[in-house]
Symmetry: C2
Subunit: 229 residues, 2 copies
């Protein structure tokens, strides 16, 4: 361990900061789904005594030899058996006292999936979908993490057609509005909604009408593929 | 350390994962500025032998007793003496081998400031502003962190008037376009740019003209305060 001029080696840097290398990093996955006109999120019963009977997000510690992004997919796969889901990193939570086991900094990832096309392994700690509107207290700071990811999702749907895989390929503006209302947890004015969506130029008018619906049939649309990644 | 039914205590959880609690967390600050029609970023010479003569972002390890967000402001203050800058968290980088001292997961924060109104303490490891377009290799994975924050900034300016504090209160569309061109590193078509900016309704026409300019005087605008946070 030598110091060269003003420079120090990485080994010296570490030896003078040993008490800094005592943090664990975790990943928490916020998996949103849409079903029966409700926005839902996947939760699991916490297995810590300190949070007995509380639900938590799907999370785990990052292994010493595992990249952060890699950990997010491994955790989702282990806990739910889902492996065809794209996870996006949203935010890292690093309050000193957020975890009762010691210093654990957690990175949140989110996804938005079609509940009916993703089969869960549900033998695991009461894993299931919870309507976002009904969720009370969660383990750790997971309510804050959930709220941060929900705000992120609400921002995303204003700017990008990220909801495209939650609808059938052909859908009516009524169905699209119901989906936006579920995510935004509000009712939207029909005319304003249609105007705002039209300005974005995300939709293609299929010149077809709904059938077998109990209300007045609406026109059908699909998303313009050039806006979908 | 007891296990209750399926539940374990936080202490037991930690004792069975000791090898996970060996990570350090760092913060890297990507401070963008605008000057002389160029987008710049604050860099400092690395003090590690492994990266001798390379520049790095402004960063440091998070202290054991320090929240993550708190660390970002402390580091910026220590390295630059800046304490009136709003930092926004962008992304966390967690590749296993990214730091030669051991496992260090780093959270990047970014800001966009007016260079002329922020005085730096420049006696510190050759700290200064570098035009983003001229930056080659950086220490660690800092080029990737810089590029991620640059992409984030480019997304932000499309959606929000985040550039407002880089211009005088009154500015011409030519000045605004020059700023966008510097951030996007491209030239923009004058008419398209004006059309896109007009649609956003961010600007208020002041019914005044530039004076003392060497080109044809343009109309002056300011940002509509209701769009500024």
């Amino acid at each position: 361990m030598t110091q060269i001029g003003n420079l120090k080696t990485a080994a010296l840097e570490k030896s003078s900061h040993l008490e800094y290398f005592k943090i664990a990093v975790s990943v928490d996955c916020v998996i949103f789904g849409y079903e029966e006109k409700e926005l839902k999120v996947l939760l699991i019963k916490s297995d810590l005594k300190e949070f007995a009977s509380l639900y938590s997000l799907l999370g785990d510690l990052v292994r010493p030899d595992e990249d952060l992004d890699e950990a997010s997919y491994r955790i989702l796969k282990e806990r739910t058996d889902l492996d065809d889901v794209y996870l996006q990193q949203v935010h890292t939570f690093g309050a000193v006292k957020r975890h009762p086991s010691g210093r654990v900094v957690s990175t949140a990832y989110y996804s938005l999936i079609n509940i009916n096309s993703h089969k869960l392994k549900i033998d695991n700690n009461d894993l299931h979908w919870h309507p976002v509107q009904t969720i009370g207290k969660l383990a750790f700071d997971h309510k804050e993490i959930l709220n941060t990811c929900l705000e992120h999702l609400r921002g995303q749907i204003e700017e990008h057609p990220v909801v495209h895989n939650l609808l059938n390929e052909k859908f009516s503006l009524r169905e699209l509005q119901e989906l936006y209302e579920a995510i935004l947890a509000t009712t939207l004015d029909r005319r304003n909604f249609r105007k705002k969506i039209t300005i974005k130029k995300w939709l293609v008018d299929l010149n077809e009408m709904e059938d077998n619906v109990s209300h007045r049939p609406g026109k059908l649309y699909r998303f313009n593929k050039k806006h979908l990644k």
